[in-house]
C-alpha cells in the first residue's frame, strides 16, 4: 500500500460545499420527510421510546439542556426525568449503569458527551459490557447503545480533546458492534436497529454532519447492523469511506465523473462487524481501491480495509491500494493548521487520479 501525504499548505479554502442531493436513499413516490442528521437520531430515539418502555436515555446534560449537541432536545419534555435521565459527570458509571440496567431487562441508550471522554469509561465498555455475555457462557446479554459524537469539521475548532475519531478503539474489541452513519436516513435506521439489537452497540455520530439534511421514509424502517452500503455504483475505482468522508467521496466522484472516471463509493456505515464481502466484491469489479477515513492514518480503519482488499481482491488489483486518512496528529485549534489534518474531496480526487494512471 502507498500513502498520499497531504500538503497542508495547499489546501487553503478548497473545502467543498456539500449539497444534500449528493446522496438520495429514498425512492421517488415513497412517502418521506426531510430531517437533519441530528433530527433523524432524535426521531429514532423518540419512536423507540414510544414503542418500547424499556428504552431510556442517560447521560450528562441530556435533559432540559438536550445534550451538548441538542440531540435529545424536547425528549425530556415528552418522557420526563426518569427516562431522559441527567447523570453526574461519571462516564465509567454511566456506561456501567447502562450495563447493569441492560442485564435486568432495560434497553438503555447512554450518551458520552464527546467520544474523547470515553477513555474514562473504557473498563466498563471494553472489559465489562463487551465481555459479559461471552465470559458467562451466554447467561446474559447487554442490549445497550452508547451514543458518542466524534470527529471534527472545518471551522469547528474544538481541538485536541474534543475532535478525535476513535472508531478503531472499539472495533478492536470483540463483543461490541460499532456503527458510524453518514446520512440522516442511515442514522435513523441504524439507531433503531442498534436499540433493538441484543448486543452493546457503539453509535458514533459525526459532529459536522448534525446539520446535514436528507429524506427519510415516513414508515418505520430498520437497517442491518452488519452491512456496508454502496452509496454510488461505478466501474473504475472503489472508494471506501465512512462518516463525513462519505460525503467527500461522493463529491469527489461527481468531479471525477466529469473527467470520465466512474467511481463506486462504499460506505462502511457499520464499522464492526465489518462487511468484508461488499468491499471485496466492489474491488474485484473495479480493480482499484482508495480508502478514506477521518481517523488517524496509522493503525486506523484504512489499514484494516486495505487488508480486506488484499484478502478478497488481490488478484484483481490493477493498481496499488491507496489510503487517504487523517494525519497522525492531535487536532489543533487554529483554523490555519486544523484544516490540514483531515482529508477532503480534493485529496480523494488526487488519489483516484493517481490510481487511474
Amino acid at each position: 500500500m502507498t500513502t498520499i501525504e497531504k500538503d497542508a499548505t495547499s489546501l487553503g479554502s478548497t473545502t467543498p460545499v456539500m449539497t444534500p442531493d449528493l446522496i438520495n436513499q429514498v425512492g421517488s413516490g415513497v412517502p418521506s420527510h426531510e430531517l437533519s442528521y441530528q433530527e433523524a437520531i432524535r426521531e429514532a430515539l423518540r419512536e423507540e421510546m414510544v414503542r418500547d418502555e424499556s428504552v431510556f436515555l442517560l447521560g450528562e446534560d441530556i435533559g432540559v439542556h438536550g445534550g451538548a449537541f441538542g440531540v435529545t432536545r424536547t425528549l425530556f419534555d415528552q418522557f420526563g426525568p426518569e427516562r431522559v435521565r441527567n447523570t453526574p459527570i461519571s462516564e465509567n458509571t454511566i456506561v456501567g449503569a447502562a450495563t447493569g440496567a441492560a442485564l435486568v431487562g432495560m434497553r438503555p441508550v447512554a450518551e458520552i458527551m464527546f467520544v474523547d471522554f470515553s477513555g474514562l469509561a473504557m473498563d466498563q465498555i471494553a472489559n465489562q459490557a463487551a465481555k459479559l455475555r461471552f465470559m458467562t457462557g451466554g447467561q446474559c446479554s447487554v442490549p445497550w447503545v452508547l451514543r458518542m459524537p466524534q470527529g471534527g469539521g472545518a471551522g469547528k475548532s474544538t481541538a485536541a480533546q474534543h475532535s478525535q475519531s476513535l472508531e478503531v478503539w472499539y472495533a478492536h474489541i470483540p463483543g461490541l458492534k460499532v456503527v458510524f452513519p453518514s446520512t440522516p436516513y442511515d442514522a435513523k435506521g441504524l439507531m433503531k436497529a442498534a436499540i433493538r439489537d441484543d448486543n452493546p452497540v457503539i453509535f458514533l455520530e459525526q459532529k459536522f454532519l448534525y446539520s446535514f439534511r436528507g429524506s427519510v421514509p415516513d414508515e418505520d424502517y430498520v437497517l442491518p447492523l452488519s452491512e456496508c452500503d454502496v452509496k454510488r455504483t461505478g466501474s473504475d475505482v472503489t472508494v471506501v469511506a465512512s462518516g463525513y468522508m462519505v460525503w467527500h467521496a461522493m463529491l469527489a466522484a461527481e468531479i471525477l465523473a466529469g473527467e470520465g472516471i466512474d467511481v463506486e463509493v462504499v460506505d462502511v456505515r457499520t464499522v464492526s462487524p465489518l462487511d468484508e464481502d461488499t468491499i471485496g466484491a466492489s474491488v474485484r469489479k473495479t480493480g482499484r481501491a482508495v480508502l478514506v477515513a477521518e481517523a488517524c492514518r496509522s493503525y486506523g480503519p484504512t489499514g484494516e480495509w486495505g487488508m480486506v482488499v488484499m484478502e478478497h481482491a488481490f488478484d484483481y488489483l490493477q493498481a496499488p491500494i491507496v489510503r487517504v486518512a487523517g494525519r497522525d496528529s492531535p487536532i489543533p485549534f487554529a483554523n490555519s493548521i486544523e484544516a490540514g489534518v483531515w482529508p477532503d474531496s480534493q485529496d480523494i480526487v488526487k488519489a483516484v487520479r493517481g490510481v487511474m494512471e
Binding site: N92, A97, T136, G137, C140, S141, G175
Partner: protein, 319 residues
C-alpha cells in the same frame, strides 16, 4: 431479628461449604489441575454468608475476583462452580469464565467482575432498573478495602445516593489489596465514614461475626426496599490466606496471620450454635461430614466433565 435455628444451621453449613470448597480449589491449583488463579475467600465466609442470608433469590449480588464465596453464599451449586474453575462445559459459564469471572445468574449472582471496583457501577444500574420497573429487589455489590479507592466506587456511591437506589454497598475490609495494607493506601482508619460524603448511612460490623453481618444487612436491605436509598456496610474482616493460592505473603508477619486464625469465624460460630443450644455437636459434625462429601463429589463431577468442544470457541461473543 427473626431467624430460626434451621436458618442459623444453614448459615453455618454455607460457611463450611465455602471453606471446604476453597481448600479443595487451592489443593487442585497447587497440583496444577486448576489453571490461571485462585483467590481464596478463607476468613471472609461470615461476611458473604451473613449478607446473602438477608437476600432473596431475585436480589442481585455483584462480586470481585475473590467471589467463590459470594456465589456459594448466594446459592450456587458447588459442582457447577468447581466445573467452571476447572474449565469444563458443565460449569456455570461453560468454561468461558473460570475462577475470576464466575457468575451464576439463576441464583441472582452477576458473579465475579474481576477488575477491582468494576462491579459497582453495574450493580448501581441494575438497581436503577429495579427502581424504574417498580420492583422491590435490591442489589449488593461486594468490594474489598482496596476497591474503595477506585473511581468506580466513588462514582457508584454518588450516583446511587443521588437517585436513592436500592443498593447495599458491602465493603469487605480484609486489610490488604494484594500486598498493600489499606492503612498505607488511604488516610482514614474507619472506611465507613466515606458514606458521609454521599449522605448515606455508613455501618461497620465485625466481619467475623456472621449474625452481626446478617442483622446489619437486614437493616440496610429494609432501608433499600423502602425507597430510602443505599447503605455502606463495612464488614471488618481478614484474608486468612494469601492473595492467591500459593502466594508468598512477604508483606505481613506470620504472627499477624496466626493471631487472626485464633478468631477463625467458623469454629467461633460453631461454638455459639452449640453453646446456645441451636444445634448439638453431633448435628454440626453431621453438617461438616455432609459438606465434605458434597465437595468430594463436586470435584469428581468437575473432573469427569468434558472441556468445551473446540468447535464452540467463538460461541457467545454476540447475542
Amino acid at each position: 431479628m427473626g431467624i430460626d435455628n434451621a436458618a442459623k444451621v444453614e448459615m453455618y453449613r454455607r460457611m463450611v461449604l465455602i471453606r471446604e470448597f476453597e481448600i479443595a480449589a487451592m489443593d487442585l491449583f497447587k497440583r496444577g489441575e486448576i489453571k490461571g488463579a485462585v483467590h481464596p475467600y478463607i476468613g471472609q465466609e461470615a461476611s458473604g454468608v451473613g449478607v446473602c442470608t438477608a437476600l432473596e433469590v431475585e436480589d442481585l449480588i455483584a462480586g470481585t475476583h475473590r467471589s467463590h464465596g459470594h456465589n456459594l453464599a448466594k446459592g450456587a451449586r458447588p459442582d457447577r462452580m468447581m466445573a467452571e474453575i476447572l474449565g469444563k462445559e458443565a460449569g456455570y459459564c461453560k468454561g468461558r469464565g473460570g475462577s475470576m469471572h464466575i457468575a451464576a445468574f439463576d441464583t441472582g449472582s452477576l458473579g465475579a467482575l474481576a477488575v477491582v471496583g468494576s462491579g459497582i457501577p453495574i450493580a448501581v444500574g441494575a438497581a436503577l432498573a429495579f427502581q424504574m420497573k417498580g420492583q422491590s429487589h435490591v442489589t449488593v455489590p461486594f468490594t474489598g478495602d482496596a476497591g474503595t479507592n477506585t473511581g468506580n466506587w466513588h462514582e457508584g456511591l454518588n450516583m446511587a445516593s443521588t437517585w436513592k437506589l436500592p443498593v447495599v454497598f458491602v465493603l469487605e475490609d480484609n486489610k490488604y489489596g494484594v500486598s498493600t495494607n489499606i492503612r498505607d493506601a488511604t488516610n482514614i482508619e474507619d472506611l465507613s465514614i466515606r458514606a458521609k460524603s454521599y449522605g448515606i448511612p455508613g455501618v461497620r460490623v465485625d466481619g467475623f461475626d456472621v449474625l452481626a453481618v446478617y442483622e446489619a444487612t437486614v437493616e440496610a436491605v429494609f432501608r433499600a426496599r423502602s425507597g430510602d436509598g443505599p447503605t455502606l456496610l463495612v464488614t471488618e474482616s481478614y484474608r486468612l490466606e494469601g492473595h492467591y493460592a500459593g502466594e508468598p505473603e512477604v508483606y505481613r508477619e506470620r504472627s499477624e496471620v496466626a493471631e487472626k486464625w485464633k478468631h477463625d469465624p467458623i469454629p467461633s460460630f460453631r461454638r455459639i450454635l452449640a453453646d446456645s443450644g441451636v444445634a448439638s455437636s453431633d448435628q454440626l459434625d453431621a453438617v461438616d461430614a455432609a459438606v465434605k462429601a458434597e465437595i468430594v463429589s463436586a470435584v469428581e463431577f468437575a473432573k469427569a466433565s468434558p472441556e468445551p468442544d473446540s468447535s464452540t470457541r467463538v460461541d457467545y461473543i454476540y447475542a
